[in-house]
């Protein structure tokens, strides 16, 4: 049955419940809220697209199933074992059977699902996100948001057209340490910001393995999807996809989408970006993995701030200003002077968006229709930083970037790398 035009499942449920309240009808107890469980009209029905390690272990098991505001109604993966295992997880936790899908479109076409959580390999993020948004779903998509800059532009446009509540999975934005560091920087407590150094770790060389017949549970052609077709090989699939440039941007986009995102936040460049990028890097001499191994990428912003993204060094983000520095990582926050960290913010200080739980922030925003802390454009712009680094490495020359037009300046060939053609019939 199709829904009334413009009616969401939750608003329909609310209206129906109001009508039923005066009718002599038995209403199941599950339709009402209890102390520890919101009413169905306030629960968000979610479909999980991509139920591999991160999708199943982190998002499904740790974040969604324990959350009483969520009902997981469907799971989807091109690997039958993984999607079935995810469905078993849901059943074991809730005693409910869920829809199980190989094709994300079948999941997104369901009218009873409010939102999707996407944790596919990177080359599928844009396609699945856009399809979900156009099906009226709110979206949580893992980082890195995209495989190309052009994909990100299209995701932003689609989210705005459909009013999508779109959370990018760069969850450090919901970590109080990172927020505090950025607030101190933004309010000048280390003086005028001069440099930012992000340390994100290097790539992996990998090990040559022969191509093989795909395991029967895996739809390999679907896995490859929009990327140029290549034969199945165990080191091109599941966790290892991130080292294959047709599927991912390597460590640059993997951890870059975390720490460069924090750099953008501290610089105050959300919705914008640098104007120059210059890269030095080393790729494996022997393969098989073809994403960059070791690198130092330097980005210059219009206000003169220089961000350098390093493979080496202690994992974290260091902001350096004229009066000191702050280093922040997932485990700690340090400063050139401990007093900086004891700062009591003044009422006149700029305070940043506060979220202490990335998934709950998304769920809150689904209710309020406000933008989440790592909205699609923030995710896109932070991912752009990473893509710019990879493009500059490939080009082997300094590049000028126009963050308004989102294109390179006077470099026709670099501009060609802003998007990648897709294998038909896929297209973003």
């Amino acid at each position: 049955m199709s829904e009334p035009s413009g009616t969401s499942r939750r608003s329909f449920l609310k209206r129906s419940a109001a009508g039923l309240a005066v009718a002599p009808t038995i209403i199941p107890a599950t339709a009402f809220a209890s102390a520890d469980r919101p009413a169905p009209s306030d629960r968000v029905v979610i479909g999980c697209i991509g139920t591999g390690d991160l999708g199943r272990r982190h998002h499904l098991a740790s974040m969604l199933l324990p959350n009483k505001r969520v009902e997981v109604a469907a799971v989807c993966d091109v690997d039958q074992t993984r999607r079935d295992q995810a469905a078993i997880d849901v059943y074991n936790k809730t005693q409910k059977k869920v829809g199980i899908y190989e094709d994300y479109r079948d999941l997104c076409d369901r009218t009873d699902i409010d939102a999707v959580l996407i944790a596919t390999p990177d080359h599928w993020h844009a396609l699945t996100s856009r399809y979900a948004m156009e099906a009226g779903k709110d979206v949580y998509c893992e980082k890195p948001l995209t495989l190309t800059i052009d994909e990100g532009k299209k995701l932003v446009a689609t989210a705005r057209t459909y009013g999508t509540v779109f959370q990018t999975g760069s969850q450090q934005r919901s970590d109080p340490r990172f927020r505090k560091a950025c607030e101190l920087v933004r309010n000048g407590y280390i003086g005028e910001l001069k440099t930012v150094d992000t340390h994100i770790g290097g790539g992996t060389v990998g090990e040559w393995k022969p191509v093989a017949t795909p395991p029967p549970e895996l739809n390999w052609d679907f896995y490859v999807g929009p990327a140029p077709y290549k034969d199945y090989c165990p080191n091109r699939v599941h966790y290892e996809f991130r080292w294959v440039s047709d599927f991912s941007g390597g460590k640059m986009t993997d951890w870059g989408a975390h720490h460069n995102d924090i750099a953008q936040w501290g610089i105050g460049a959300d919705g914008s970006g640098p104007v120059k990028v210059q890269a030095q890097g080393k790729f494996s001499d022997t393969g098989p993995f073809d994403t960059v191994l070791d690198f130092d990428i330097t980005y210059t912003y219009g206000n003169g701030v220089v961000l350098t993204c390093h493979a080496q060094g202690e994992n974290g983000v260091k902001f350096t200003g004229t009066n000191g520095w702050i280093f922040v990582s997932r485990g700690k926050i340090e400063a050139s002077n401990r007093e900086i960290l004891k700062t009591e913010f003044k009422t006149s200080d700029t305070r940043l968006y506060k979220s202490n739980h990335h998934h709950n922030n998304w769920l809150d925003c689904i209710q309020t229709r406000e933008r989440p802390i790592c909205d699609v454009e923030i995710g896109h712009r932070s991912c752009t930083i990473c893509h710019l680094g990879n493009i500059a490495l490939k080009a082997g020359r300094p590049l000028e970037w126009d963050p308004v037009k989102e294109d390179f300046v006077n470099d026709e060939f670099a501009s060609r790398l802003v998007r990648k053609p897709m294998r038909a019939p896929w297209q973003v």
Partner: protein
């Protein structure tokens, strides 16, 4: 050019580790050749790659596919002409299409238009429609309009989505006509794709400040009884236009 020849020879070995090294070498060579101001080197590199892909029997299909794709990073009109000649080759047409998609010159557009008209294979032609959707111009428009009458639905729908990228209000009735063709009914998912395409067209028209035309299309979408998401999007666009 010796380094380029060495890379091509490595590609031709068919051994994965050698191919990896060749690709890495090509990355450096193409980076240098595409530097602004290096036109002479670019032309030489592109010509050598063209020659390898055309006369490269010794390289094999996998190597020639890789070379063809690389032409998309370094090629101009001359290389687009080379790639055009590969469209009839069932093994090389897809990498050729990838490369043409990336080359922004008129000759590449002409090659894609010709592929839209003459290439065999519905999935391949759908890819060509997708590539044409990134371009503008009379020839592009004509090819896409023709694509909406293709005997294969996969091509028709790709053409409709490509037309939605044209920011031309005249595209809307052409897109809608796919739904009205009784000889080839559109399934539910196809109908949804067309409606989503029309919403994208509205967005592109608004960006081009063609608000009156965009408004009419929004009203037409709402009158057609779309899915809730498209109804909401069309209404939001109407509200935005005022």
């Amino acid at each position: 050019m010796d380094a380029l020849q060495q890379a091509l020879d490595q590609l031709a070995t068919g051994q994965e580790q050698e191919i990896y090294k060749a690709k890495l070498a090509l990355q450096g060579i193409l980076g240098e050749a595409t530097k602004p101001g290096n036109e002479e080197l670019r032309a030489k590199v592109a010509a050598k790659l063209s020659e390898a892909v055309i006369n490269g029997g010794k390289y094999g299909v996998a190597a020639r596919s890789e070379i063809a794709r690389r032409l998309g990073e370094v090629g101009k009109d001359a290389e687009a002409t080379t790639l055009r000649s590969l469209i009839a080759d069932l093994e090389l047409r897809e990498p050729a299409r990838f490369a043409l998609d990336r080359i922004p010159t008129p000759a590449a557009t002409e090659a894609l238009v010709e592929a839209a008209q003459n290439a065999i294979g519905s999935r391949f032609r759908a890819g060509v429609m997708n590539a044409l959707g990134q371009r503008q111009g009379k020839g592009v428009l004509e090819a896409l309009v023709e694509g909406t009458k293709d005997p294969n639905m996969i091509v028709r729908l790709a053409a409709a989505e490509a037309l939605a990228e044209q920011a031309d209000p005249a595209c809307d009735p052409v897109i809608v006509a796919i739904l009205e063709d009784k000889t080839m009914p559109v399934d539910e998912r196809g109908r949804a794709r067309i409606m989503k395409g029309r919403i994208r067209l509205v967005g592109n028209l608004i960006r081009e400040n063609k608000k009156v035309e965009a408004k009419k299309i929004c009203q037409s979408i709402l009158a057609a009884g779309p899915a809730p998401a498209q109804a909401k999007a069309a209404q939001a666009r109407l509200d935005e236009i005022g």
